[in-house]
Protein backbone atom coordinates (compact mmCIF):
# COMPACT_ATOMS: atom_id res chain seq x y z
CA UNK A 1 0.00 0.00 0.00
CA UNK A 2 1.37 3.38 -0.99
CA UNK A 3 1.67 5.79 1.91
CA UNK A 4 2.55 9.46 1.74
CA UNK A 5 5.74 9.87 3.71
CA UNK A 6 6.47 13.55 3.10
CA UNK A 7 4.15 16.29 1.96
CA UNK A 8 5.06 19.96 1.99
CA UNK A 9 2.87 22.82 0.86
CA UNK A 10 4.44 26.17 0.07
CA UNK A 11 7.18 25.59 2.67
CA UNK A 12 9.24 28.68 3.44
CA UNK A 13 12.29 28.89 5.71
CA UNK A 14 13.66 32.34 6.49
CA UNK A 15 16.70 33.14 8.61
CA UNK A 16 17.91 36.65 9.45
CA UNK A 17 15.58 38.12 6.85
CA UNK A 18 16.91 35.84 4.11
CA UNK A 19 14.56 33.39 2.38
CA UNK A 20 16.53 30.12 2.25
CA UNK A 21 13.62 27.97 1.08
CA UNK A 22 10.95 29.64 -0.96
CA UNK A 23 7.63 27.87 -1.50
CA UNK A 24 8.66 24.22 -1.53
CA UNK A 25 5.95 21.83 -2.73
CA UNK A 26 7.13 18.25 -2.45
CA UNK A 27 5.46 14.89 -2.01
CA UNK A 28 7.34 11.66 -1.46
CA UNK A 29 5.59 8.29 -1.24
CA UNK A 30 6.74 4.87 -0.07
CA UNK A 31 9.43 3.15 -2.13
CA UNK A 32 10.49 6.39 -3.78
CA UNK A 33 14.12 7.46 -3.99
CA UNK A 34 14.21 11.18 -4.71
CA UNK A 35 17.41 12.97 -5.69
CA UNK A 36 17.92 16.70 -5.28
CA UNK A 37 20.81 18.60 -6.79
CA UNK A 38 21.60 22.28 -6.84
CA UNK A 39 24.45 24.76 -6.62
CA UNK A 40 26.23 25.63 -3.36
CA UNK A 41 24.08 27.78 -1.11
CA UNK A 42 20.84 26.84 -2.85
CA UNK A 43 19.36 25.52 0.42
CA UNK A 44 19.81 21.75 0.03
CA UNK A 45 20.97 21.11 3.61
CA UNK A 46 18.28 23.41 5.02
CA UNK A 47 15.67 21.54 2.97
CA UNK A 48 16.73 18.18 4.42
CA UNK A 49 16.76 19.61 7.97
CA UNK A 50 13.31 21.13 7.36
CA UNK A 51 11.98 17.80 6.06
CA UNK A 52 13.29 16.11 9.21
CA UNK A 53 11.51 18.87 11.21
CA UNK A 54 14.85 19.82 12.70
CA UNK A 55 14.42 23.42 11.66
CA UNK A 56 11.18 25.32 11.96
CA UNK A 57 9.50 26.65 8.86
CA UNK A 58 8.46 30.28 8.67
CA UNK A 59 5.46 29.62 6.43
CA UNK A 60 3.74 26.67 4.77
CA UNK A 61 3.04 23.14 5.94
CA UNK A 62 5.02 19.98 6.49
CA UNK A 63 3.22 16.66 6.97
CA UNK A 64 5.24 13.55 7.80
CA UNK A 65 3.84 10.00 7.63
CA UNK A 66 0.33 11.22 6.96
CA UNK A 67 0.30 14.00 9.56
CA UNK A 68 2.02 12.32 12.49
CA UNK A 69 3.19 14.52 15.38
CA UNK A 70 6.65 15.78 14.42
CA UNK A 71 8.43 14.63 17.57
CA UNK A 72 7.07 11.11 16.96
CA UNK A 73 7.79 11.29 13.24
CA UNK A 74 11.44 12.24 13.85
CA UNK A 75 12.08 8.83 15.38
CA UNK A 76 11.27 7.25 12.01
CA UNK A 77 13.76 9.45 10.20
CA UNK A 78 17.45 8.75 9.62
CA UNK A 79 19.81 11.50 8.55
CA UNK A 80 23.36 11.19 7.30
CA UNK A 81 24.60 14.76 7.12
CA UNK A 82 27.63 16.04 5.28
CA UNK A 83 29.57 16.40 8.57
CA UNK A 84 29.79 13.40 10.91
CA UNK A 85 28.53 13.88 14.48
CA UNK A 86 30.80 11.37 16.21
CA UNK A 87 32.80 12.33 19.31
CA UNK A 88 36.52 12.37 18.44
CA UNK A 89 37.72 11.11 21.85
CA UNK A 90 35.54 7.99 21.72
CA UNK A 91 36.37 4.96 19.62
CA UNK A 92 34.18 4.09 16.64
CA UNK A 93 32.70 1.24 18.66
CA UNK A 94 32.05 3.43 21.72
CA UNK A 95 30.35 6.04 19.55
CA UNK A 96 27.94 3.49 18.10
CA UNK A 97 27.31 1.77 21.44
CA UNK A 98 26.52 5.17 22.99
CA UNK A 99 23.88 5.86 20.35
CA UNK A 100 22.56 2.29 20.57
CA UNK A 101 22.11 2.65 24.36
CA UNK A 102 20.22 5.92 23.90
CA UNK A 103 17.98 4.17 21.38
CA UNK A 104 17.44 1.24 23.71
CA UNK A 105 19.28 -1.31 21.54
CA UNK A 106 21.58 -4.04 22.83
CA UNK A 107 25.37 -4.05 22.56
CA UNK A 108 25.14 -7.21 20.45
CA UNK A 109 23.03 -5.38 17.90
CA UNK A 110 25.58 -2.55 17.75
CA UNK A 111 28.43 -5.07 17.33
CA UNK A 112 26.53 -6.78 14.53
CA UNK A 113 25.97 -3.47 12.75
CA UNK A 114 29.69 -2.69 13.02
CA UNK A 115 30.42 -6.08 11.53
CA UNK A 116 28.01 -5.49 8.63
CA UNK A 117 29.76 -2.22 7.72
CA UNK A 118 33.15 -3.90 7.89
CA UNK A 119 34.49 -2.10 10.96
CA UNK A 120 34.94 -5.01 13.36
CA UNK A 121 38.74 -4.82 12.97
CA UNK A 122 39.00 -1.05 13.33
CA UNK A 123 36.25 -0.42 15.85
CA UNK A 124 38.72 0.38 18.68
CA UNK A 125 40.23 3.25 16.78
CA UNK A 126 39.31 6.70 18.08
CA UNK A 127 36.94 8.65 15.84
CA UNK A 128 39.37 11.60 15.87
CA UNK A 129 42.05 9.36 14.38
CA UNK A 130 39.82 7.70 11.80
CA UNK A 131 39.28 8.51 8.17
CA UNK A 132 36.14 10.25 6.95
CA UNK A 133 35.07 7.02 5.25
CA UNK A 134 35.26 5.12 8.56
CA UNK A 135 33.14 7.75 10.33
CA UNK A 136 30.63 7.46 7.52
CA UNK A 137 30.51 3.69 7.98
CA UNK A 138 29.61 4.20 11.66
CA UNK A 139 26.77 6.46 10.59
CA UNK A 140 25.61 3.82 8.12
CA UNK A 141 25.78 1.29 10.97
CA UNK A 142 23.56 3.56 13.07
CA UNK A 143 20.95 3.57 10.31
CA UNK A 144 21.13 -0.24 10.21
CA UNK A 145 20.36 -0.32 13.94
CA UNK A 146 17.24 1.74 13.66
CA UNK A 147 16.07 1.07 10.09
CA UNK A 148 14.35 4.42 9.44
CA UNK A 149 11.28 4.76 7.25
CA UNK A 150 12.58 7.99 5.77
CA UNK A 151 16.29 8.21 5.03
CA UNK A 152 17.78 11.63 4.30
CA UNK A 153 21.26 11.74 2.79
CA UNK A 154 23.18 14.99 2.54
CA UNK A 155 26.15 14.49 0.21
CA UNK A 156 26.51 11.15 1.95
CA UNK A 157 28.27 9.44 -0.96
CA UNK A 158 31.11 11.92 -1.22
CA UNK A 159 34.46 10.73 0.13
CA UNK A 160 33.48 7.06 0.27
CA UNK A 161 35.53 4.18 -1.09
CA UNK A 162 33.87 1.60 -3.35
CA UNK A 163 32.91 -0.76 -0.49
CA UNK A 164 31.35 1.99 1.62
CA UNK A 165 29.62 3.35 -1.48
CA UNK A 166 28.09 -0.08 -2.02
CA UNK A 167 27.01 -0.33 1.63
CA UNK A 168 25.20 2.97 1.39
CA UNK A 169 23.58 1.97 -1.91
CA UNK A 170 22.40 -1.22 -0.19
CA UNK A 171 20.95 0.81 2.69
CA UNK A 172 19.07 3.00 0.20
CA UNK A 173 17.72 -0.05 -1.62
CA UNK A 174 16.61 -1.77 1.61
CA UNK A 175 14.92 1.40 2.94
CA UNK A 176 12.92 1.82 -0.27
CA UNK A 177 12.03 -1.88 -0.38
CA UNK A 178 10.78 -1.90 3.22
CA UNK A 179 8.05 0.65 2.42
CA UNK A 180 10.30 3.54 3.25
CA UNK A 181 11.56 6.43 1.16
CA UNK A 182 14.88 8.10 0.55
CA UNK A 183 15.68 11.71 -0.25
CA UNK A 184 19.28 12.34 -1.21
CA UNK A 185 21.06 15.56 -1.92
CA UNK A 186 24.16 15.58 -4.10
CA UNK A 187 26.18 17.62 -6.56
CA UNK A 188 26.68 14.50 -8.64
CA UNK A 189 23.76 14.65 -11.06
CA UNK A 190 24.78 11.51 -12.97
CA UNK A 191 24.82 9.49 -9.72
CA UNK A 192 21.38 10.83 -8.81
CA UNK A 193 20.06 9.98 -12.26
CA UNK A 194 21.29 6.39 -11.91
CA UNK A 195 20.14 5.85 -8.31
CA UNK A 196 16.89 7.76 -7.96
CA UNK A 197 13.37 7.16 -9.18
CA UNK A 198 13.09 10.91 -9.86
CA UNK A 199 15.35 13.92 -9.55
CA UNK A 200 14.71 17.56 -8.73
CA UNK A 201 16.81 20.67 -8.80
CA UNK A 202 16.93 23.32 -6.07
CA UNK A 203 17.93 26.78 -7.18
CA UNK A 204 17.85 29.79 -4.83
CA UNK A 205 15.46 27.98 -2.51
CA UNK A 206 13.01 26.91 -5.23
CA UNK A 207 12.44 23.30 -6.21
CA UNK A 208 11.76 22.20 -9.79
CA UNK A 209 11.91 18.94 -11.76
CA UNK A 210 15.29 18.34 -13.39
CA UNK A 211 15.01 19.39 -17.03
Amino acid sequence: MVERIVETKDLVVERAGFRILDGIDLTVDTSEVVGISGPNGSGKTTLLRALASLTSNSEGELALFGGMDHSQARRRIGLIGHRPYLLPHLTLSENLHHIARLQGFSSERADKALQVVGLEGASHRRAGASSFGMLRRVEIAQQLLDRPRLLLLDEAYSGLDDDAHQLLAELVRLTAERSGAVIMVSHDKSHLAKTCSRTLILTAGRLAPTP
Binding site: L54, S56, R74, R75, R83, Y85, L87, I99, L102, G104
Partner: protein, 224 residues
Protein backbone atom coordinates in the same frame (compact mmCIF):
# COMPACT_ATOMS: atom_id res chain seq x y z
CA UNK B 1 12.84 5.04 33.34
CA UNK B 2 14.34 5.89 29.95
CA UNK B 3 14.73 9.49 31.15
CA UNK B 4 17.23 8.49 33.83
CA UNK B 5 19.03 5.87 31.76
CA UNK B 6 19.52 8.47 28.98
CA UNK B 7 20.68 11.11 31.48
CA UNK B 8 23.19 8.70 33.03
CA UNK B 9 24.45 7.56 29.62
CA UNK B 10 24.98 11.18 28.53
CA UNK B 11 26.80 11.97 31.80
CA UNK B 12 28.96 8.85 31.47
CA UNK B 13 30.03 9.67 27.91
CA UNK B 14 30.70 13.31 28.86
CA UNK B 15 32.99 12.15 31.67
CA UNK B 16 34.77 9.56 29.51
CA UNK B 17 35.35 12.23 26.86
CA UNK B 18 36.60 14.69 29.46
CA UNK B 19 38.83 12.03 31.01
CA UNK B 20 40.52 11.53 27.64
CA UNK B 21 40.63 15.17 26.60
CA UNK B 22 41.79 16.11 30.12
CA UNK B 23 40.85 19.76 29.72
CA UNK B 24 39.71 20.31 33.29
CA UNK B 25 42.50 18.61 35.19
CA UNK B 26 45.39 19.16 32.80
CA UNK B 27 44.62 22.74 31.80
CA UNK B 28 42.09 24.54 33.98
CA UNK B 29 43.31 23.30 37.40
CA UNK B 30 47.03 24.04 36.85
CA UNK B 31 46.24 27.44 35.36
CA UNK B 32 43.94 28.30 38.29
CA UNK B 33 46.64 27.26 40.80
CA UNK B 34 49.28 29.34 39.02
CA UNK B 35 46.91 32.32 39.03
CA UNK B 36 46.25 31.71 42.72
CA UNK B 37 50.01 32.01 43.34
CA UNK B 38 50.62 34.99 41.10
CA UNK B 39 47.83 37.34 42.17
CA UNK B 40 48.94 37.80 45.83
CA UNK B 41 52.56 38.23 44.72
CA UNK B 42 51.54 40.82 42.17
CA UNK B 43 49.65 42.72 44.87
CA UNK B 44 52.60 42.48 47.25
CA UNK B 45 50.44 41.16 50.06
CA UNK B 46 51.91 39.83 53.32
CA UNK B 47 51.49 36.10 53.93
CA UNK B 48 49.56 36.72 57.16
CA UNK B 49 47.10 38.92 55.29
CA UNK B 50 46.78 36.40 52.48
CA UNK B 51 45.90 33.61 54.91
CA UNK B 52 43.11 35.82 56.25
CA UNK B 53 41.59 36.31 52.79
CA UNK B 54 42.40 32.78 51.56
CA UNK B 55 38.79 31.60 51.45
CA UNK B 56 37.71 34.76 49.64
CA UNK B 57 40.37 34.14 47.00
CA UNK B 58 39.25 30.51 46.79
CA UNK B 59 35.67 31.46 45.97
CA UNK B 60 36.67 34.22 43.55
CA UNK B 61 39.04 31.93 41.64
CA UNK B 62 36.55 29.09 41.93
CA UNK B 63 33.97 31.20 40.11
CA UNK B 64 36.41 32.60 37.57
CA UNK B 65 37.96 29.32 36.50
CA UNK B 66 34.86 27.29 37.31
CA UNK B 67 33.19 29.05 34.36
CA UNK B 68 35.65 27.26 32.11
CA UNK B 69 34.75 23.94 33.70
CA UNK B 70 31.02 24.65 33.53
CA UNK B 71 31.23 25.49 29.83
CA UNK B 72 33.58 22.63 28.96
CA UNK B 73 30.67 20.59 27.60
CA UNK B 74 30.27 23.01 24.68
CA UNK B 75 33.32 21.27 23.21
CA UNK B 76 31.18 18.15 22.67
CA UNK B 77 28.34 20.10 21.16
CA UNK B 78 27.60 20.60 17.48
CA UNK B 79 24.54 21.12 15.32
CA UNK B 80 24.98 17.62 13.89
CA UNK B 81 25.06 16.07 17.35
CA UNK B 82 22.02 18.02 18.49
CA UNK B 83 20.18 16.88 15.35
CA UNK B 84 21.12 13.27 16.10
CA UNK B 85 19.78 13.52 19.68
CA UNK B 86 16.49 14.93 18.39
CA UNK B 87 16.13 12.26 15.72
CA UNK B 88 16.66 9.38 18.12
CA UNK B 89 14.18 10.95 20.55
CA UNK B 90 16.38 11.85 23.52
CA UNK B 91 14.34 13.99 25.91
CA UNK B 92 16.02 17.43 26.06
CA UNK B 93 15.39 17.49 29.81
CA UNK B 94 17.30 14.19 30.15
CA UNK B 95 20.14 15.77 28.19
CA UNK B 96 20.13 18.74 30.60
CA UNK B 97 20.17 16.45 33.63
CA UNK B 98 22.94 14.26 32.15
CA UNK B 99 25.10 17.22 31.31
CA UNK B 100 24.49 18.79 34.71
CA UNK B 101 25.55 15.54 36.42
CA UNK B 102 28.83 15.34 34.47
CA UNK B 103 29.51 19.06 34.92
CA UNK B 104 28.86 18.76 38.67
CA UNK B 105 31.32 15.87 39.03
CA UNK B 106 33.98 17.88 37.21
CA UNK B 107 33.19 21.12 39.02
CA UNK B 108 33.40 19.51 42.44
CA UNK B 109 36.68 17.84 41.45
CA UNK B 110 37.97 21.22 40.31
CA UNK B 111 36.84 23.01 43.50
CA UNK B 112 38.39 20.30 45.70
CA UNK B 113 41.72 20.58 43.82
CA UNK B 114 41.59 24.37 44.08
CA UNK B 115 40.70 24.13 47.78
CA UNK B 116 43.68 21.88 48.49
CA UNK B 117 45.96 24.28 46.60
CA UNK B 118 44.57 27.19 48.65
CA UNK B 119 45.28 25.37 51.92
CA UNK B 120 48.81 24.39 50.83
CA UNK B 121 49.71 27.83 49.47
CA UNK B 122 48.10 30.14 51.99
CA UNK B 123 47.78 27.99 55.16
CA UNK B 124 44.53 29.62 56.29
CA UNK B 125 43.78 29.42 60.01
CA UNK B 126 40.04 28.99 60.10
CA UNK B 127 37.88 28.96 63.21
CA UNK B 128 36.76 25.55 64.36
CA UNK B 129 33.81 24.15 62.44
CA UNK B 130 34.72 25.80 59.14
CA UNK B 131 35.77 22.64 57.31
CA UNK B 132 32.40 20.81 57.30
CA UNK B 133 30.69 24.03 56.22
CA UNK B 134 33.28 24.52 53.47
CA UNK B 135 32.63 20.99 52.19
CA UNK B 136 28.84 21.50 52.14
CA UNK B 137 29.19 24.95 50.53
CA UNK B 138 31.58 23.54 47.90
CA UNK B 139 29.16 20.73 47.00
CA UNK B 140 26.15 23.04 46.76
CA UNK B 141 28.05 25.78 44.90
CA UNK B 142 29.52 23.17 42.50
CA UNK B 143 26.05 21.87 41.70
CA UNK B 144 24.64 25.36 41.17
CA UNK B 145 27.48 26.56 38.93
CA UNK B 146 27.23 23.38 36.86
CA UNK B 147 23.49 23.75 36.35
CA UNK B 148 24.01 27.39 35.44
CA UNK B 149 26.76 26.49 32.96
CA UNK B 150 24.54 23.86 31.35
CA UNK B 151 21.62 26.27 30.98
CA UNK B 152 23.91 29.00 29.60
CA UNK B 153 25.37 26.50 27.13
CA UNK B 154 21.86 25.63 25.91
CA UNK B 155 20.89 29.29 25.61
CA UNK B 156 24.00 30.12 23.64
CA UNK B 157 24.01 26.92 21.51
CA UNK B 158 24.19 27.46 17.81
CA UNK B 159 25.67 30.94 18.07
CA UNK B 160 29.13 31.60 16.70
CA UNK B 161 30.28 33.46 19.83
CA UNK B 162 28.65 31.01 22.21
CA UNK B 163 31.51 30.54 24.68
CA UNK B 164 31.83 34.27 25.38
CA UNK B 165 28.07 34.76 25.39
CA UNK B 166 27.62 31.86 27.81
CA UNK B 167 30.20 33.41 30.16
CA UNK B 168 28.25 36.66 30.10
CA UNK B 169 25.08 34.76 31.02
CA UNK B 170 26.74 32.87 33.87
CA UNK B 171 28.78 35.56 35.60
CA UNK B 172 25.95 37.77 36.98
CA UNK B 173 23.66 34.81 37.74
CA UNK B 174 26.46 33.08 39.67
CA UNK B 175 26.62 35.94 42.20
CA UNK B 176 23.96 34.56 44.59
CA UNK B 177 25.78 31.21 44.56
CA UNK B 178 29.12 32.84 45.26
CA UNK B 179 27.54 34.98 47.96
CA UNK B 180 25.84 32.02 49.64
CA UNK B 181 28.99 29.87 49.59
CA UNK B 182 31.41 32.54 50.80
CA UNK B 183 29.07 33.92 53.47
CA UNK B 184 28.27 30.46 54.84
CA UNK B 185 32.00 30.04 55.56
CA UNK B 186 32.35 33.60 56.91
CA UNK B 187 29.32 33.09 59.17
CA UNK B 188 31.21 30.41 61.09
CA UNK B 189 33.99 32.92 61.85
CA UNK B 190 31.44 35.56 62.87
CA UNK B 191 29.63 32.95 64.97
CA UNK B 192 26.31 33.73 63.28
CA UNK B 193 23.90 31.23 61.76
CA UNK B 194 24.97 29.59 58.50
CA UNK B 195 21.43 28.46 57.79
CA UNK B 196 20.27 31.43 55.66
CA UNK B 197 23.30 31.05 53.37
CA UNK B 198 22.96 27.29 53.04
CA UNK B 199 19.25 27.75 52.30
CA UNK B 200 20.16 30.37 49.68
CA UNK B 201 22.47 27.82 48.00
CA UNK B 202 19.82 25.09 48.12
CA UNK B 203 17.19 27.49 46.74
CA UNK B 204 19.53 28.50 43.88
CA UNK B 205 20.28 24.85 43.04
CA UNK B 206 16.61 23.90 43.05
CA UNK B 207 15.56 26.95 41.05
CA UNK B 208 18.25 26.26 38.44
CA UNK B 209 17.30 22.56 38.23
CA UNK B 210 13.63 23.40 37.69
CA UNK B 211 14.51 26.15 35.19
CA UNK B 212 16.88 23.86 33.27
CA UNK B 213 14.35 21.04 32.98
CA UNK B 214 11.48 23.40 32.10
CA UNK B 215 13.48 25.31 29.50
CA UNK B 216 15.18 22.30 27.88
CA UNK B 217 12.53 21.62 25.24
CA UNK B 218 11.72 25.26 24.33
CA UNK B 219 15.44 26.03 24.07
CA UNK B 220 16.03 23.02 21.85
CA UNK B 221 13.24 24.14 19.54
CA UNK B 222 14.41 27.75 19.58
CA UNK B 223 17.91 26.65 18.57
CA UNK B 224 16.61 24.57 15.65
Amino acid sequence: MRFWSDAIEIARVDLVTEGRAGETFRLVVPFAVVALMIIPMALDLRLSLISEVAFGLYWAFGLLFGLQVALRQLVNDSQERRDMFRLIGVDPAARFVGRSISATVLMIGFLVALGLATVVLFTPEPSSGVWPVLVVATLLAGLGLSELGTIAGEIAAGLGSRTSLASLVIAPLALPILLGASQAVEAVGRETSILPWILLLIACDLALAVTGVALAKPLEEANA
